[in-house]
Symmetry: C2
Subunit: 332 residues, 2 copies
């Protein structure tokens, strides 16, 4: 059996910045056992006053754009500036395909071996909702442990971007120059989410096409203004190989932070994210309770075959099951 500490021991360990205990606490939050997750939830509540002070940065881009090398180089630069950096990942595909991002810490050797950095792969064995709830708890635990920049990596397309956007302060989209005019298949919705776009791998003979791409993307961004926060997304060039542009990316993020904190947006955004988190969690908990209910299980068992065969409309059985579940109360 895995060793479990007391709530106070976890909290004390995290407050003192103990990386081993931080790691164990995140494992607790990622557990599929209710008792583990309840303890983790109490722990998050316990350390909540120590959270919220980090800068939370989401990083996305299609496979091949160099997210890992960017995070490695960018994270290293932040360490050199005296920051403590945590790297988390949201990858809903990892349950199926054994994790494509951050699955292998050796891809970020510099960060993985540095004590001021903390790297955690995407939790597996959860739905996207579960993955993002766990990553959010991991983020707060890292903050309580003293990390002041949290980088959240995700894959370049799809629903996981929305999940990450809903947990970060700043959303960074990595792109390549000269990879086609179709904006590399990046969905309009993801362009809309981005606070900045970094054209990556700008080294070797790549500068001229990158400059051209910069101007194209900057034009494209005019289609996606952010009037609610008075911010125009910027396009920057960077190379993780030479380090070119990385400081400018950081300067831009700091400028953004200052500007949003000066307005009401920063706090309003975080408040909205907390509510969104709660809503996601409610959905998960309701679904779990439903599937454990004995009467529901029994009706499902006897009627499921009729839905399978096409004799009974799935919507009709869904309604019956939910009515049955809701009619019970304390007996549950």
């Amino acid at each position: 059996m895995r060793k479990r500490l007391s709530l106070q021991d976890y909290a004390a360990g995290i407050r003192s910045g103990n990386r081993v205990i931080l790691s164990q606490a995140i494992t607790l939050a990622e557990s599929t056992l209710d008792s583990d997750r309840e303890l983790a939830s109490l722990l998050v509540q316990e350390v909540l006053p120590m959270t919220g002070n980090s800068l939370r940065i989401g990083i996305t881009g299609v496979p091949g754009v160099g997210k890992s090398t960017f995070i490695e180089a960018f994270g290293k630069m932040l360490l050199d500036q005296g920051k403590k950096v945590a790297v988390l990942a949201v990858d809903p595909t990892s349950q199926l395909s054994k994790g494509s991002i951050l699955g292998d810490k050796t891809r970020m050797e510099l960060l993985a071996t540095d004590k001021r950095a903390f790297i955690r792969p995407s939790p597996s064995g959860h739905t996207l909702g579960g993955v993002s709830a766990r990553t959010r708890e991991a983020m707060l635990l890292c903050e309580a442990a003293g990390f002041d920049v949290i980088l959240v990596e995700t894959v370049g397309v799809g629903q996981s971007e929305t999940a990450v956007k809903n947990m970060v302060d700043f959303f960074l989209l990595l792109m390549l120059a000269g990879a086609g005019d179709e904006l590399q298949g990046i969905k309009k919705g993801i362009m809309e989410m981005a606070d900045a776009l970094v054209i990556h791998k700008v080294d070797g003979d790549n500068l001229d096409p990158a400059k051209k791409a910069k101007s194209n993307y900057q034009n494209a961004f005019h289609l996606f203004p952010h009037p609610e926060k008075n911010w125009s997304p910027k396009v920057l060039l960077a190379s993780s190989l030479t380090g070119m542009g990385l400081e400018k990316v950081w300067d831009l993020i700091v400028e953004y932070e200052q500007k949003m904190k000066d307005s009401t947006f920063w706090e309003a955004n975080r408040a909205g994210q907390r509510i969104n988190w709660m809503e996601d969690q409610i959905q998960d908990l309701l679904g779990q309770a439903f599937l454990r209910n004995e009467k529901v299980k029994k009706m499902l068992e006897s009627e499921k075959a009729k839905v399978k065969s096409g004799e009974l409309h799935p919507g009709v059985l869904a309604q019956r099951l939910v009515d049955l579940f809701l009619a019970q109360g304390e007996k549950r």
Copy 2:
């Protein structure tokens, strides 16, 4: 007030292939009123014996790949073969951005004016779960009305592909030749879903690059075999402008249908889809009941501010609310 027919009148109208009544019935299913949706659900159950006989084809691809022109040309060819064709859409972004796909029927003028075709834009005002449940009901209603090919269009990236994959028999991915080596940002997960890939807009000087792309994609597909159904995804070339290749696409789909019907896969796949539909619907219904509950509303009202401000862990309030909701039963 909108006119509502009786269950029997809707059913009779649909059975007789009355397009106006079909359209009204779909509107009923898309309604946000419970009473409308309940009637729609009963209607689907009523006509269920007449459903299931169509060939359901999902069509996806990034914006710019020409989904609408493909569906127009492909659908026209099927009409000429004596088929009745319905075109539906799943677009979860349409609630935000006023509908990017099928929003404007005039993009498919030929189909829109042909009485053997039926075009229905993506329902709006629902979550992705709601959109796909409504589209599934629309699909069954179209089948009961005698349409024998259902084309379901969706956007090229993200979660909506999974929703569409879960409601169709055959999943077709449209791509362009020469638009970059990054597989146009199409997520690995979407390549994995595809039963065939069509390189589109192969006209003019485009034949040679298209042939090269075909060979590349065919190689890429070796990475995504489908052992569960003994099918290797094929790559085809087509032009909606000249009509080149469209018949071959149809032949391939028919070959697939025959092969899958000869094995157990066809029926097993549809059975799984029905169960998946039920599960989605349960989640929606639970969420709705929760949000209408008076005690839940009250606690939410008094505690929400603490979550917003960061004083109370979202996961803790979520648990309290769900516990409160589940403790009630009949009183609800």
